[in-house]
């Protein structure tokens, strides 16, 4: 090769090297429910605040480029998680639920934020909580909830989530049912009176409650499952907790060990009551719920065909406000009391689904790429009160937990729900394993659709619980001696 060509080659490589090394740092950010969308005929004015905040940040930090990542919601969101983490392509910032994070932290997927949250957040103005110490911008109770059993904080939890039963006021009044709340959180004072109303609607020829229990999008069912199970085990749950802990959402370890230590089993009379309560409720769900998508359930409510809709109340509020051509309200599940199950006779409240489950995690990718500081800086910027208040006012899709922020007026009715105690049994999947969640739901579907008897259900459930508990305990080498 002639020297001149060699030099040219070297020069070109040097140029590319320099050009490459000066390339901007890209932060992949998945905003979850706040993801900006393009306007359509149906939704002509989507929120824009997040987009402009990001533009401002990029203008102030020319070396940073923020890429928004959309998480697929429909088929296969679990597959997507596996694929991004296995492919080392996970977003740097991911919306997350603490229980799920505890379950997944064994894979080293997330970066502990312990040292960062004690530092000052420069984007929080003086005099506002969090200016000296970032963690002060979020109530202590939230941090106590989300901390992993290894002491790590993986999440910055900026929002609280509440689910609810939307109801069609006009419809219920026409059918002669009351639309006034009997207790602060619910139309009904107890579960039995809810079932009574559902029965009267059903005998009048309606399908009372719209929800989805498709195994691809089983959220609605998961909520009912956890609330019911918590209620019937009310009296023995505290024995399942680790010593000296207040009422909380049970971790995977506590759940698995409860089964191992025979504090809980599918052969319990409580579990049998749990099945009975669900199977007495199931006849009032829309036809086709095992394959219905949440969107199909929503359509039935909004068209006025079905008076009740179970949904993530915060996320769907804006949508219902926009689409409903009738008066509506949002109720919560009534408490399951002694009149429904003898094991719930000490229950005087319903249990909250959701709560402080809308946080952001920083993925291990940030450390791997050596950009932790930049990623955390952006997260500090975004979750500082001045910025976050713009996001939630523009798109009220969750109740902000940051100190010094007002709840958007549309979500005001949901704040009462958030004062309820959390359900101790979460969704079936984080209770034990993903396989447990999936097989449990399928067993319930088989039972509901009459393919198996209650005895077969309990037998299978028992085997399933034992196996998955043993598996997860072995994998994590838990001792279960608390």
């Amino acid at each position: 090769m002639k020297p001149i060509r060699l030099f040219a080659l070297l020069g070109i490589s040097l140029f590319y090297f320099l050009a490459y090394s000066q390339e901007k740092t890209t932060i992949y950010f998945a905003p979850g429910v706040y993801l900006p969308t393009t306007p359509t005929e149906t939704n002509p004015n989507p929120p824009t605040a997040l987009t402009s905040l990001i533009e401002e940040y990029e203008a102030a930090h020319p070396d940073i480029n923020i890429e928004l990542v959309e998480i697929p919601e429909s088929v296969s969101s679990d597959t997507w998680r596996v694929t991004v983490f296995q492919g080392e392509n996970e977003p740097h910032i991911l919306p997350n639920n603490y229980i799920r994070v505890w379950q997944e932290s064994i894979n080293d997927w997330y970066m502990p934020l312990n040292t960062y949250i004690t530092q000052p957040n420069p984007y929080i103005p003086e005099g506002t909580p969090g200016h000296e110490k970032w963690q002060d911008s979020i109530p202590e109770v939230v941090w106590n909830t989300t901390v992993d059993s290894n002491g790590n904080q993986y999440l910055v939890t900026v929002d609280a989530v509440a689910v609810g039963l939307f109801f069609n006021k006009d419809f219920l009044e026409k059918e002669g049912l009351s639309t006034d709340f009997s207790i602060p959180t619910s139309l009904w004072s107890d579960w039995a009176s809810m079932i009574k109303d559902m029965e009267s609607l059903s005998s009048a020829g309606y399908e009372p409650l719209a929800l989805s229990m498709s195994t691809a999008t089983p959220f609605n069912y998961n909520w009912i499952d956890g609330v019911t199970l918590t209620s019937v085990y009310r009296d023995s749950i505290e024995q399942m907790f680790k010593p000296d802990s207040a009422w909380h959402a049970m971790s995977q370890e506590e759940g698995a060990c409860a089964i191992q230590n025979q504090l809980m089993s599918a052969k319990d009379p409580q579990f049998s009551d749990f099945i009975d309560i669900l199977s007495a409720f199931e006849p009032y769900w829309i036809e086709g719920y095992p394959s219905a998508t949440p969107d199909e359930a929503y359509r039935l409510f909004i068209s006025g065909e079905v008076p009740f809709l179970l949904a993530n109340a915060a996320v769907d509020m804006a949508r219902v406000l926009r689409d409903a051509e009738f008066n509506f309200g949002v109720s919560y599940f009534p408490p399951i009391t002694g009149s429904t199950s003898q094991y719930a006779s000490n229950v005087d409240t319903s249990y909250l689904v959701g709560g402080f489950t809308a946080g952001y995690t920083v993925s291990e990718r940030a450390e791997r790429e050596g950009v932790s500081d930049q990623v955390v800086d952006f997260l500090m910027y975004l979750t500082a009160q001045p910025q976050w208040s713009k996001v939630v006012t523009d798109a009220p899709r969750a109740v902000p937990t940051l100190l010094g922020l007002d709840v958007p007026p549309a979500l005001e009715p949901l704040t009462a729900f958030l004062d309820l105690p959390i359900r101790a049994f979460k969704d079936p999947d984080p209770r034990l394993t993903k396989r447990y969640g999936e097989e449990h739901r399928r067993l319930m579907q088989e039972f509901f659709t009459g393919q198996i008897t209650k005895e077969q259900l309990l037998d299978n459930e028992d085997r399933l619980m034992q196996r998955e508990a043993a598996k997860v305990i072995a994998e994590n080498s838990w001792t279960c001696d608390f």
Partner: protein, 275 residues
């Protein structure tokens, strides 16, 4: 009026075909109808057109899907070229030459038809991950190429075997070399079968959902089938633009269809293809 010339003889057959035709086409018309509706119109009336038509759905949809379409065109195009080149070479060699271990090598190709694709789904995923091809275009193209090679090699071989030996003998006598015979005699003769191989590869890659689902996580690399499924319900499903997206997504195939249809049909209907 030549279309109606033979109706007297044909009418029972025409009626039967009409029956098939209507059931086959009604869903497609439905897609067109839905693609110009808003959600409200859609929820009120599924099956019939409603006024006004919202053509702006197509603008929204185009912005959403054009990237997916470009990706898919690139992936499918590369795979088609690769499959056509490799399968015609291998098919030609297996059809027209004798050489040691031919049976064994051919078996290596053909027995893969019996290996269910799902058997290799998980290990293939791990292989691609370890080759650092996850979330890369190569991670789609290469596995699609190798999977497509199996059936197309077999199709090409069947076709080359069905060609008359005399043609080739004549070419040898004229002094043509093997590569020359392959390029200037065999390939032009095999054009219909090449079109078949190309179109089957196109359909297979264009419609594949599962493999992209497990390998591609970044929106900017997603092929069409995956893009349309995964983003059908971000926050809420907007049916009009979704269906408009599907209509737009069909256009590239439609164009290809118009151009290659004759060759494709004659390749498959040549009668050489059978078990």
């Amino acid at each position: 009026m030549r279309l109606f010339k033979n109706l007297k003889h044909d009418w029972p057959f025409q009626i039967g075909l009409l029956f098939f035709g209507i059931i086959t086409f009604y869903p497609l018309i439905l897609v067109l109808i839905t693609s110009v509706k808003t959600n409200t119109q859609f929820y009120q009336q599924f099956w019939l057109p409603t006024l006004p038509f919202h053509l702006s759905n197509y603008v929204v949809a185009f912005e959403r899907v054009y990237r997916f379409i470009l990706n898919s065109l690139f992936y499918s195009g590369t795979v088609i070229v690769g499959v056509a080149v490799l399968s015609s070479i291998c098919g030609f060699v297996f059809a027209r030459y004798q050489f040691p271990a031919k049976r064994f090598l051919f078996l290596l190709f053909i027995s893969l038809i019996m290996v269910p694709g799902v058997l290799t789904l998980a290990p293939k995923f791990i292989l691609i991950r370890d080759l650092k091809m996850l979330n890369q275009p190569l991670g789609l193209i290469i596995p699609w190429l190798s999977a497509g090679l199996v059936l197309s090699t077999w199709l090409m071989r069947s076709y080359f075997e069905s060609l008359s030996q005399d043609l080739f003998d004549a070419a040898y006598i004229d002094g043509a070399s093997d590569p020359q015979i392959f390029l200037w005699l065999a390939i032009p003769l095999a054009r219909p079968m090449l079109a078949t191989v190309a179109i089957t590869s196109l359909i297979a890659t264009w419609n594949d959902l599962i493999w992209p689902l497990v390998t591609i996580s970044d929106r900017k690399w997603m092929p069409l089938a995956q893009g349309l499924v995964q983003f059908s319900s971000s926050f809420e499903t907007d049916w009009g633009p979704l269906f408009a997206g599907y209509v737009i997504a069909s256009v590239p195939l439609l164009i290809i269809f118009v151009f290659a249809m004759k060759q494709f049909i004659s390749g498959l209907t040549s009668g050489a293809v059978k078990a």
